[in-house]
Symmetry: D2
Amino acid sequence: MPVPAPNLYPDFNIVRLSHVEYRVQDLAKSRAFYVDTLGLQVTYEDQDRIYLRAMEERGHHCIVLVQADNSDVGVLGFKLFDDPDLDKAAAWFASKGLPVDWIERPHMGRTLRTRDPWGVPLEFYVKMDRLAPIHQKYKLYNGVKPLRIDHFNMFSADVDASVAFYNEMGFRTTEYTEDAETGKVWAAWMHRKGGVHDVAFTNGKGPRLHHTAFWVPTPLNIIDLLDLMATTGWVDNIERGPGRHGISNAFFLYILDPDGHRIEIYCSDYQTVDPDLEAIKWDLKDPQRQTLWGAAAPRSWFEHGSVFEGADLKESALKAQPIIAP
Amino acid sequence: MPVPAPNLYPDFNIVRLSHVEYRVQDLAKSRAFYVDTLGLQVTYEDQDRIYLRAMEERGHHCIVLVQADNSDVGVLGFKLFDDPDLDKAAAWFASKGLPVDWIERPHMGRTLRTRDPWGVPLEFYVKMDRLAPIHQKYKLYNGVKPLRIDHFNMFSADVDASVAFYNEMGFRTTEYTEDAETGKVWAAWMHRKGGVHDVAFTNGKGPRLHHTAFWVPTPLNIIDLLDLMATTGWVDNIERGPGRHGISNAFFLYILDPDGHRIEIYCSDYQTVDPDLEAIKWDLKDPQRQTLWGAAAPRSWFEHGSVFEGADLKESALKAQPIIAP
Amino acid sequence: MPVPAPNLYPDFNIVRLSHVEYRVQDLAKSRAFYVDTLGLQVTYEDQDRIYLRAMEERGHHCIVLVQADNSDVGVLGFKLFDDPDLDKAAAWFASKGLPVDWIERPHMGRTLRTRDPWGVPLEFYVKMDRLAPIHQKYKLYNGVKPLRIDHFNMFSADVDASVAFYNEMGFRTTEYTEDAETGKVWAAWMHRKGGVHDVAFTNGKGPRLHHTAFWVPTPLNIIDLLDLMATTGWVDNIERGPGRHGISNAFFLYILDPDGHRIEIYCSDYQTVDPDLEAIKWDLKDPQRQTLWGAAAPRSWFEHGSVFEGADLKESALKAQPIIAP
Amino acid sequence: MPVPAPNLYPDFNIVRLSHVEYRVQDLAKSRAFYVDTLGLQVTYEDQDRIYLRAMEERGHHCIVLVQADNSDVGVLGFKLFDDPDLDKAAAWFASKGLPVDWIERPHMGRTLRTRDPWGVPLEFYVKMDRLAPIHQKYKLYNGVKPLRIDHFNMFSADVDASVAFYNEMGFRTTEYTEDAETGKVWAAWMHRKGGVHDVAFTNGKGPRLHHTAFWVPTPLNIIDLLDLMATTGWVDNIERGPGRHGISNAFFLYILDPDGHRIEIYCSDYQTVDPDLEAIKWDLKDPQRQTLWGAAAPRSWFEHGSVFEGADLKESALKAQPIIAP
């Protein structure tokens, strides 16, 4: 079954993914990971939470770390184009029978809080505090030199349904994996902002967040991060990579934060702004879709994910993905 | 005088810059430059013209080289979002008293031909022949490994007026240089596709094309190109760089093709999709806006440009830019 | 047991490792690997053999590929400092009861052929045909842009004995792995030319050649090679990497040629010319000595090697190395 | 006139260049330059002096900064192979009628202090305090990530004579520039440690130190340093580059410390251990010998240098070098 045709005229205009709230059990340890090791910049912090931005971002935050009892995900945030889009979004979610709440968020303007049909907590906004540029303050660059948040990747127990829902919101599929046996979409990459993806879905027990990705300048920054993590006590937090994905053509590294939230460090995808961009189809049996160079991913990469606060988990009806043995 | 507020709801939706037609006096020599040295891929060629694409492009061409008696620029091409945009664009140009012609172009669908108020030849289309992806055919990569066309930069004799006109078309200003003495905008960078620019304007005798830019993966590809050009007879075609622009934060190299058309090789700008992105203002007297590292550009870089076929040149009323001596 | 003190005044002066003769079963296929994929330059070829050099080498060859019935290793070659060193070397080998033959080699001057005590075929020379520099002929660079041969790594059934023998020849140990349980040296890296090694020995069934290594400019060249191999039919010849060795600090990739001869692509070791350089000791149980970043090597990497023509294999008395599971 | 044949059997064995003493007028400002900006590591400091090493060095220091009234150069230091070499060196200098003093140096063993015939202050030693390796302590890397001191470059008023003298000491010429009109050597690069040079001489008022060079991993580290200097108040200390030298094939950057001492940041030369390596001759009129890519060096680069404490300056008899205008 092919992915659905892109919806060129969605009810509301999502600009891009924006931020994620990670609930963490040891805020100081998370700070050591995200600030001292990855090099994200603190824009606000107190006893209970830390707000972070990457080097070229002018919005107030792309990650919120919240001290909590459970290591789960509080919300995925998206930026809308203009104020009317907020009301159109509210109407659209309401029409689907999904929750619509207007909430107060520090550093953000009017914010719509909802969930997708599988319980993934979402929030939409137009205005967030804007900060002065720091992308040319080179003294501040350290760690992996993270430039911007790039995408969310989620496990879904029904990828075809997830793709249909997010497609209706205007996310356009750039690449996908089809299970030839069942004709089902196994995984899909969907964008709003002109790269390979703002969100992606992979078959598995869901909904869960597989990872949040950050964009960095070159593969050498990823090598620098590996050297740094390997010699500062974080070697066990290196999960997979470096490598090249067949899908998206990304040069990647996967690491785990102290709570097990997975972060991808990423560069080298391609521009996808053409509305007639043809989605690239991959066969589930082609091992190069995952690692162009052929190395196998560890089992944890296929199985582990972060749960969303308040979302019920469901097993996928599709059989488990064949893991390529090393 | 600040740049105008972005027009978030233009009459028609321009996706991105798309292609340029360069008229050249020795097609074989131009082929040696663009294909054998830069590494662009030929998608069609005959006695009179060569069509080229970069490695991640699926549209048929980003450059058309046409054998001609004069070394000028035939047209700048832009891709629109959807068919209705073509008619809306035609209506908008007609409302401005500008020419509106529907022309036949090989490899392209319905094409609107017009000119901006200063005579710059423009064409707009929605459909161009789509080609199979080659971005993972690594055996084909050579030269500077050009990934995609990035932007056009033009001399304008009245930058304020050019910015106002292109702003009305929906181009959003990301950075600009102001002449504090006159309060005039000296130069401006404006985008549609989510990078620093699709088009830029600089004060000077105009309209002329200052350069067309190509995006490459990393600064090392630019160093590779320099080494290659320096040892294959093209050393005199290296005009400026490598360096870092203050404006746009780009790592750059400027080279001249056999007809003197200037090409920029470019990486490292930043994402600009936020509609509330604040334009960054630079002072005309700040030498770091041009070269963050302080090295002066050669005089030719300020003075030389390619004329547009059929456009009359006009001097700028602003006095010449202060060239920083080496 | 520590490694022996360096012998600062050996009987003869070895400048560096020089070349290897690989016997291969399909010369055309080997050419596709070494020339078309790795980018080594052919300096001579006929029906039966191909001579290759890397981009900064002026000696005639660093690899000789010989059409043969067996995929083994013909000889390891070393360059001596001056003519008298040849005779001193001959005397030294004779004094050890090892074979001493003066042989004719095309493209080489007077050549001493011998074997080490375990049967590894060795040849020593002072003069080899000198070729014009090509390191600035950037048009010739392709593949992984190999700059020079860097080292040989061998399995030895008695590493302590191998180290003692090569130490007496003047190879100085830079790093080594000790098996704390037995007090034996498990592996050692030894140099003449001022890098981490010209030769290395690892415990295992021996003598066998584990790999020959080539030096490249930066890690990005290794990434380029991976992309190229992965998309031109060589993906199954990628064995391990990319990664960083703890030992030597090298950024590495291991690949297999069509006959299973292992090639390492390598950059980032360090200068070792100080005669009082302290050897760095690693614990056999420290997994970061092999991969600083923690990823396991595949089993084949520990077990597979190329046999030397005419050398008898012997099992090591030490127990098998613990392979870190992925 | 060709350069002299290499002296393969010099009276004493110089291993490599080792360190330089810079006398500076504001120690705190020099610290900001060398430590906070370049990233060299402090190994000792007090009110009057700072000792520095680069990341892969285990010797105690490669630069000594000494608070002084004049911005000159105290001494150039070289490491000898073994203790007997020190006495042989003393005898050799004495035989030339040059000064021979045995001096006390903190952190160093027996030290021979002398001058070359033109007054350049030299010191030779075998033992210097050895420090624990830090090349894998990646948290310490910053600035340009300097790995090791690479070479000294000096103005000489008689390059032929300088080359003859240092050649007799065993420095071997790898590349040189000849003035075809006079048959004189204009400049020469000479090595001991197996790279393109430990010392170089260029025609001009001398003796003066043109620069001391540091080796870094890749060109990207040089770009990082440029970005850092350009945005932390050091932009005026960037003198020339980045670029590629024809001679040595080095990727280079020249910067000036607060006292005007010139530092080269450098990568990409080649291995020169072969004793029969043919010196490469360049024509003084070939502009690519200086900058392969064709850009001119600023006038200051040809004219400015650091004087040696206690050495008298002399003009060269050769006419001034043609400076290629930008």
